[in-house]
């Protein structure tokens, strides 16, 4: 194994190194950056859900108090497809002046018909979005296993059919999208402080847009307050801010306000599906049939990744019909495990309804439908997820069963007593999460004993600084706090965007290689000065040991021998180009990379407990237990807190969140944190996390998987509490009361 065989720090709980900086406000986010002479920019947006711009007149805005630059984004005659489409932008000395100036811009619109409700878009006979289709509904893939219609339901012990749905939600990044843009004197170099999960990408895209050499654009993201898949580049506000800054010859800050963040910063597509499942009397799935649709807004992205249904489980007979409903609302963006939470909801609720019909315990139901291990799936690797999935899930089910005391807590659906009913529900999930370079990392060891690690990779909240420090400290015999880590600056070279839970698996091997290279270079440099051969020196915690005579030199004393020249080394992995070589060496590299250093594919399980007040319909989630596989754990505390964060997001998805659009105006009515509801600490369950450490598999990502199954587990817990299915998320008092009334 390429990782250190015995690990002092890797896999232990290390507190986030920059926690105190974040908690005290010393950490400066892009939103906190204020440059000398900086202007504030705001954007004018189309108030209509579908309209043609007849004319734009910015002359009054140009003369408005405090205004230093105006930039027009669309041309007359442009057709705009959603309320929020960008029209123009203004930079002024204060935010208030910029806001006032927006209202001095005169735009004439011809309003056009719009559709913002899935129920309407599904049946409407016209198209209100771009393209040539007749309507807003686009077929997105049909599939059926052979002879489905003839054999699927034959001889089944039970067949159940249900319709389940979940609305469009918003990313609601706490730090909104945006940046500060600053040019040099002659406008040949651009620096941006951007809230982004792709630092070099952002710089590169801006360089392309402004036709500048890549070396002349710098992106800095020292800290960022949430992206969840919605912040992969400069975005329109990035190019607009830079345009305004160039025009005004002054730095410009353009951060979205809350309403813009919610209406324009990204959405997770809705999903609705009618699912019919059949099984034998043991609960083994025989047929899974789904007709589903969802809305990616005006975009064309997949909504429910239909080829994932049935999610996690296997069934011999499968039939899927999937359509995409385009509507006049913002386009979908990737959101923490794109597609998976919706798939999980559609599958797990149907499975649970079948379990209830068959009187099968939900955990047994899951065990009986797990997919088999497939040892040949990925390069015959015994450590691949597909080779291990049955084993992993079975172990996880066993662990969670004990953790939550399932035998004691669980009761048959609806069998609990009292006005406030308790229920327990379960759901499984899976995710990829493998990473790859380039993520070159530089490690510098100085004569004063200090160590610096640098990379352009960003920390989007996952404690990437701490991950970096842990690996370097492990290799150099130090403690994480001994390592200074600099991240989030494009001058440090390329790095991969933080999407798909790839940052830790993509950077960890590079950090390891860099630290090992620095160690070798360091030992080679000091060996003569310690009267030793480099090969005789080894590092133990805090000391350099000469194996031949057991001479022990403390770290600082050894570093002091470096004199004026620090030792520097860079590491990256996989080595560029060689990975794909169809040679034995290439294959060996692939194995090392994909199966021991890092890996891809995880499974997890969550159980939720809810208390449902049957008089008011109010649901409280009281406990969530989560068991998560993630290969080799670098920072156990970081992993656990990623799981907790994922669960919190899942609780909100289940109980609170919904983008509500007004049929008549086409506008979102709750673009805020008041009626777009997000739970606070009092609304959150106790979260119990168990991390399955499987170091032999290498490092795999953790960011996305733990948010996938929470909502489905809660949906099933509510069903377990009440004995009736609340089909439509979020599980609000009105939805719960309606489901209870239907039963009466």
């Amino acid at each position: 194994m390429p990782w250190p065989q015995t690990r002092r720090i890797i896999g232990t709980k290390v507190q986030r190194l920059d926690g105190p900086d974040k908690a005290t406000g010393r950490a400066k986010y892009s939103f906190d950056i204020n440059r000398p002479g900086m202007l504030h920019a705001r954007m004018l947006r189309c108030p209509h859900a579908h309209a043609r711009v007849k004319s734009i007149d910015v002359s009054q805005a140009e003369k408005a108090p405090g205004v230093r630059a105006v930039h027009t984004i669309v041309k007359p005659d442009a057709e705009l497809y959603w309320a929020g489409a960008e029209i123009a932008a203004v930079a002024a000395d204060t935010e208030e002046h910029a806001e006032d100036a927006l209202r001095a811009i005169r735009v004439d619109y011809q309003e056009l018909p719009h559709l913002v409700k899935e129920s309407e878009a599904l049946t409407a006979k016209r198209r209100t979005v771009s393209g040539n289709a007749m309507t807003n509904v686009e077929a997105a893939g049909d599939f059926a296993t052979a002879n489905f219609d003839q054999q699927a339901y034959q001889g089944a012990a039970a067949t159940v059919e249900g319709t389940y749905g979940v609305p469009i939600i918003s990313h609601q990044c706490l730090e909104s999208h945006g940046l500060v843009a600053e040019w040099n004197q002659d406008a040949t170099e651009l620096t941006v402080w951007a809230s982004t999960q792709a630092v070099p990408n952002t710089a590169n895209q801006l360089a392309q847009y402004f036709k500048l050499p890549a070396t002349r654009v710098k992106c800095i993201t020292h800290y960022m307050g949430g992206g969840f898949g919605s912040k992969f580049g400069p975005d329109i506000q990035g190019t607009v801010a830079a345009e305004l800054a160039r025009k005004a010859r002054a730095p410009v800050k353009l951060m979205l306000d809350r309403a813009e963040e919610v209406t324009c910063g990204g959405q997770r597509p809705s999903a609705f599906g009618t699912v019919k499942v059949a099984g034998d009397n043991q609960g083994r799935l025989q047929a899974f049939e789904v007709d589903c649709y969802g809305s990616p807004g005006i975009g064309g992205a997949a909504t429910v990744n239909f080829n994932l249904l049935p999610y996690v489980y296997s069934a011999p007979n499968v039939k899927r019909k999937h359509s995409r409903l385009r509507m006049n609302v913002q386009t979908a963006r990737a959101m923490r495990a794109p597609g998976h939470p919706q798939n999980c909801l559609l599958t797990e609720q149907a499975l649970d309804d079948l379990a209830a019909r068959l009187n099968v315990n939900p955990l047994d139901m899951r065990l009986r439908n797990l997919p088999a291990n497939d040892p040949n799936a990925v390069d015959n690797a015994p450590t691949s997820f597909l080779a291990l999935r049955n084993t992993i899930y079975t172990r996880e089910i066993d662990i969670i069963k004990k953790m939550c005391n399932w035998e004691q807590r669980w009761h048959a659906p609806g069998k609990g007593g009292g006005v406030v009913k308790t229920g327990l529900g379960v759901a499984l999930h899976t995710w990829g999460g493998g990473g790859r370079g380039p993520n070159p990392t530089k490690v510098t060891i100085s004569a004063d004993g200090s160590v610096l690690a640098q990379s352009s990779s960003q920390d989007l909240g996952t404690a990437q600084r701490t991950v970096t420090a842990i690996i370097v400290a492990e290799v150099l015999g130090l403690q994480p706090r001994d390592i200074t880590v600099q991240l989030g600056d494009s001058v440090h070279g390329p790095s991969t965007p933080s999407g798909g839970s790839t940052t830790c698996p993509g950077t960890s091997p590079a950090i390891l290689k860099a630290a090992e290279a620095a160690r070798s270079a360091f030992l080679a440099e000091i060996a003569p000065r310690l009267n030793a051969q480099a090969g005789d020196l080894t590092i133990e915690p805090g000391v350099i040991v000469n194996r031949t005579n057991n001479q022990r030199t403390p770290w600082r004393q050894a570093c002091a021998r470096l004199g004026m020249n620090p030792v520097q080394a860079t590491g990256d992995w996989p080595p560029p180009g060689q990975l794909n070589a169809m040679t034995p060496a290439g294959a060996a590299l692939r194995r090392e990379w994909q199966q021991t250093l890092t890996n891809q594919g995880v499974g997890g399980i969550q159980v939720a407990e809810v208390k449902v007040d049957t008089e008011t319909g109010v649901v409280r989630c009281t406990h969530v237990w989560a068991v998560q596989d993630c290969g080799m754990i670098i920072n156990k505390q970081g992993c656990e807190s990623q799981v907790a964060g994922g669960v919190i997001m899942g609780v909100n998805y289940a109980l609170f969140e919904e983008c509500i659009y007004d049929r008549a105006t086409g506008r979102m009515v709750n673009p805020d944190m008041e009626f777009y509801k997000l739970g606070g600490i009092q609304d959150m369950p106790q979260i119990h996390v168990h991390m399955m450490d499987m170091p032999e598999r290498g490092v795999i990502g953790i960011g996305e998987p733990p948010t996938i199954s929470t909502a489905a587990a809660i949906a099933n817990a509510i069903h377990n509490a009440l004995g009736v299915r609340v089909p439509q998320a979020p599980y609000t008092p009105e939805h719960v009361l309606a489901a209870l009334a239907n039963r009466r």
């Binding site: 406030v420 008011t616 609170f656 009626f675 739970g679 009092q682």
Partner: protein
């Protein structure tokens, strides 16, 4: 935000002297938790702001044998924490403790709470020209209305009144002292609110150049409680609130002078007269409280999306009555 001139008078008389008689151009500023929001959203665009921060008199509190008088400038947090309020006006203390979040309670004032604007999402959207902003019709009538009024008969605008202190104060029989340009007057809070129908009206009956000086709550051995059905526990508006007050009613004794006032069901706090009648002179039991709850929902005409509130009215009234009577909350497990 439209630019404005800021005034900081030191007496109520000076303050009202700076206000125009018509709504629109001048505005009182207390804690600012509502007004600043409305200004930033261009819903309120006053050119003159009259701050109440320098009017020391508004912070007075006096506790007598027969009544408690709370200055309109008192923060909601201070109302919630005040020992006499907790002792003699439990419903108010409970409602105040549940308002928004600590930040809102520490800045928001009693006067501002009573005079705050409604939270309708159409009213608060700059780009929607709803009835209250001079538009042709109320967008909520056939729009997104799950948080709107269920007592809709006779109303052209179907907001709910946002204040959760108001139902408690009305149930407790409180009145407001008001400074007008030509002197002072007293208004029962039961008559303080009204359903607005256009830009020239507010959710209350004060003239644009009047201000609330204080609120007086009689001390009359009243038992009271406020119960909110909330979707979230962390800051959220109630879906439905019930505030109740009565004399007696303890340990099976009969309750008299029963007052039942609902919040978030109508454009004004809603006095549930049928429910009051159903309970007057009867012991508070689970059965009688349930019956009162049913009566409270009588006459409601919900909109397309808020029929669920009728059930919540029944439950909120029942639970508030049981709480006030000292019963153990059966719903807390």
């Amino acid at each position: 935000m439209k630019n404005f001139t800021y005034f900081r008078p030191t007496s109520p008389e000076q303050a009202v002297g700076l206000l125009e008689a018509r709504w629109g151009n001048t505005e009182l500023l207390a804690g600012g938790t509502d007004l600043l929001d409305l200004q930033k959203e261009y819903i309120a665009q006053p050119s003159r702001i009259v701050s109440l921060a320098g009017v020391a008199q508004l912070n007075n509190v006096s506790i007598g044998d027969r009544a408690i008088t709370l200055g309109a400038g008192m923060t909601i947090a201070a109302v919630a924490a005040h020992a006499s309020v907790r002792q003699h006006a439990a419903a108010l203390a409970q409602a105040a403790a549940e308002v928004g979040a600590p930040q809102i309670r520490n800045m928001g004032t009693l006067g501002g709470n009573l005079c705050q604007r409604n939270r309708c999402w159409y009213f608060r959207d700059e780009h929607t020209n709803c009835l209250l902003k001079g538009g042709p019709r109320c967008n909520a009538l056939d729009g997104e209305n799950k948080y709107h009024a269920v007592f809709t008969a006779g109303h052209r605008c179907v907001i709910v009144h946002p204040s959760t202190l108001a139902p408690a104060l009305i149930a407790l029989g409180a009145s407001a002292d008001v400074q007008a340009p030509n002197g002072r007057r007293t208004v029962e809070l039961a008559k303080f609110f009204r359903a607005p129908t256009g830009p020239a009206e507010r959710e209350h009956t004060l003239a644009a150049n009047e201000l609330v000086l204080s609120v007086t709550i009689p001390i009359a051995g009243t038992r009271s409680a406020s119960y909110e059905v909330r979707h979230k526990q962390a800051y959220d508006w109630p879906l439905v609130q019930a505030a109740v007050a009565f004399q007696g009613g303890q340990n099976g004794a009969k309750a008299t002078g029963v007052r039942i006032v609902l919040g978030h069901v109508a454009p004004t706090p809603y006095i549930a007269e049928a429910a009051q009648r159903a309970l007057d002179n009867r012991a508070i039991t689970e059965a009688s409280a349930t019956a009162a709850g049913r009566a409270a929902a009588e006459g409601a005409k919900p909109l397309s999306q808020n029929g669920y509130k009728l059930r919540l009215i029944e439950v909120a009234v029942k639970r508030a009555l049981l709480l006030a009577s000292g019963a153990k909350p059966y719903w807390e497990v």
